[in-house]
Symmetry: C2
Subunit: 462 residues, 2 copies
């Protein structure tokens, strides 16, 4: 699937940090063109999180395949007075020619595990840092948040309602995609439906009800105006009263041979537990046992968990802001770090941000039921038991093959979530999945580069 | 300034919630074309916030002026099987013909105050809801966060470093713009520099240091490769050792007649208070009193405040993730609500989400020094003392004149922040600015619409 990024332009080369360009200029002037290996990983999981879901790879590969500086880009850079002609000419011809290893989208991963590795001449590998991070970080952030909702909902339908408070256009679109990848059923965002074939959902806002003289008139008008089955929003004035109104209208519809036109009611405010039970009782008593109940209004995975485990008769959730901004953790501690240059492992030992040098692979072990039991981060050449998670997805700047389509990634994510250790599945869980570092990683530091002894966050060390 | 939105396309009509289209179809079928008045406002300020800064209007007006459904949009909608031909034909001809009143960008505002009001035939006014909110919400969110950093920094230079963890491309660009509007001095995001003339900043990452055999070699190489003044990143291995290295290199440079080439050093990790003082002392003792210190690495307004009020000798801050995702409050409780239809005020009384009906104006009072002393939200026709904040910016679908350029909006914001009550200026402050509701607003509820008695959050009522 191409054009997975949300921007209409195939390329946005200047969407980068200035320092990527000043470093590139310096590398060019210094004649430094040896291969560099950078790895993208999350240093520490956010508080109260026990796993993450990789996403954004398809968009990242699109970006790499299409990266080029056009004349307008170069004209602007020239105006800055920061770059010599020779560098601008170099940029004009620059294409990404590197190799990429990555976790397939939908793969569960943990802290300190590389989710993407770039091997390329250092200018190229460095230059792509900002946008690669920007794409993979956000897509992963939302897929991870959505997966928590999916686990909590235990099969109830989930719809992305978050566009209005998502951080701009691309965020709204990528959030819809990531949510669907992680197991959501639909999105309200039409453009996401067009772009990726995600089912679109939505019927009415409070304003539709307000624009009519009464709620009953609004419901009847909507049913009259639009054929097919619909969802009525029932909390504009008094939710329980509106449920009685729905029952009355359903009876009229049935009398006209239009039974079943009301598919669901939506409640967007108030005490959702109490209102849902009351509305369910009113609907059932009124012969509307087949009318479903959709809940929305600032819901997150904790509320889903509470409502579902409390036996509240809810059929579907519309999840908006908490999903699209990942409200409990609006950013991940993600980094893209140089691990090797010119064949030498490289280590950073900044306080709290030290890295394990060398190009790495993640090996995952499973029990006989397929449940994940533990991972080891090893050097690439170490062969360990289990499954190697990083696969080569791009070589010499071209995809190794078509990326999995969104449905395939979604299926992968479903299988991954089913294979999580049960202790990691609840929204309140912050259980520590065992991630070990191999002997190769921990002894790989070459004498020229300093060794730090700082602990690596919560990751268990061998 | 046109094309203020970050998407390369002038138009993205399907970037909307599906229910905007289903309601539009229903309104068309029902022949409902009377004028509707919608207001965009923030219900409650986030915890620990005492004001917000309006932004995003220019992008919003661009969107309204350019809104149109093209053939590809309509083809996609037809595939959904949800809309009749007549509606799609209507959409093909649809343009936004309404009137918009709004706070100019850079205006300080508070909860329950309309920041934008749309008056248009109900289909148009409704249809633009999702993208208007998406644009204004995010731009306002970041301008408000940035303003807190600006107040805390008390004149120290601020640079937006947030692109990599911003939520996608548009978020990165709009964040850079909002931060500059609120008083930031520069951005690392090159494309934001091109789009809006924001000064771009940036020199090197840790990887540049790591790619060399030693820090001294990395610094010397960078200075050799790039002319002009530069900032050296000094925390890759040992910050204080690196400061001594900088002193040694500065001496060599001076000996070669290249004094002043090192403009600043940047520290990105560790105990920033202690490291900055130590580095300052090393630099000063080494004759580098003119070398500035830039701090970065997960800094937010609280840390700026602590460092600045603690007398730490810092000259500039690079603010990344906390700014671009507004980490303490990644979303605002913003709403776009129907206040009037066909000349009748309309009220929603959902629990916790009740609205004050009628088209409104915000009147602001100031003391003799120009400091804000209190606001009153009134009906449009009530003339109250003070300044009317909402101005007509669009009529019949066209701007009333060119929007203020970014520099003008930035100057406005500076003046606004200078006029804040002092109790509202600190990052920990959650003082309550007095926002009153006029008698007109509180009695305007017509008999046909229910009156709620729920308190309106923290807003003081008359």
């Amino acid at each position: 699937m191409t054009n997975a990024s949300a921007d209409g332009r195939a390329n946005l080369a200047l969407l980068t940090d200035l320092y990527e360009l000043t470093m590139a200029d310096a590398y060019l002037a210094l004649g430094m063109h040896e291969p560099a290996v950078f790895e993208l990983f999350v240093r520490r999981l956010p508080p109260h999180r026990s796993f993450l879901v990789a996403a954004g790879l398809d968009a990242a590969l699109d970006y790499l395949e299409n990266l080029r500086f056009d004349a307008a880009d170069l004209d602007y850079l020239a105006t800055l007075g920061l770059f010599p002609e020779r560098f601008l000419a170099y940029l004009a011809a620059l294409r990404f020619t590197g190799t990429v290893h990555a976790l397939p989208e939908g793969t569960v991963f943990y802290e300190q595990e590389p989710i993407l590795r770039v091997t390329a001449p250092i200018i190229e590998a460095q230059l792509v840092e900002s946008r690669l991070m920007n794409l993979v970080h956000f897509a992963t952030l939302i897929a991870s948040k959505a997966a928590r909702c999916v686990l909590a909902a235990r099969g109830r339908r989930l719809i992305d309602f978050g566009m209005r408070r998502a951080h701009g256009a691309e965020a709204a679109l990528l959030a819809a995609r990531s949510a669907y990848l992680a197991g959501f059923d639909a999105t309200a965002t039409v453009e996401a439906g067009r772009r990726w074939g995600i089912p679109a959902a939505g019927t009415m806002a409070h304003s539709f009800v307000q624009a009519h003289a009464s709620e009953a008139e609004a419901f009847s008008a909507f049913l009259r105006a639009r054929p097919g089955r619909t969802t009525l929003l029932i909390d504009t004035y008094d939710t329980r009263q509106a449920a009685h109104t729905v029952v009355a209208i359903a009876r009229e519809l049935a009398a006209r041979g239009e039974a079943g036109r009301i598919e669901a009611v939506r409640i967007d405010s108030g005490d959702l537990d109490a209102e849902t039970r009351a509305v369910r009782a009113i609907l059932d008593a009124g012969g509307c046992g087949d009318v479903k109940i959709v809940l929305s209004g600032g819901i997150d995975e904790h509320q889903i968990e509470a409502l579902v485990s409390g036996g509240v008769p809810v059929d579907a959730f519309g999840i908006g802001t908490s999903l699209d901004v990942s409200s409990d953790a609006p950013a991940l501690d993600i980094a893209y770090k140089l691990q090797e240059y010119a064949g030498q492992p490289r280590r950073k030992r900044s306080v709290g941000k030290a890295t394990w040098p060398g190009r790495k692979q993640v090996w995952r072990r499973r029990d006989t039921d397929g449940r994940m039991t533990g991972d080891t981060v090893a050097l690439e050449h170490e062969a360990l038991p289990g499954e190697a998670l990083l696969i080569e997805v791009m070589r010499d700047g071209r995809r190794r093959g078509p990326s999995p389509d969104l449905a395939a990634s979604r299926a992968r994510c479903r299988a991954e979530l089913a294979a999580l250790p049960p202790a990691l599945c609840g929204p309140a869980a912050a259980a520590c999945y065992p991630v070990m570092l191999s002997a190769g990683v921990t002894v790989s530091v070459t004498p020229v580069l300093p060794v730090a002894t700082a602990a690596q966050g919560r990751t268990e060390l061998p």
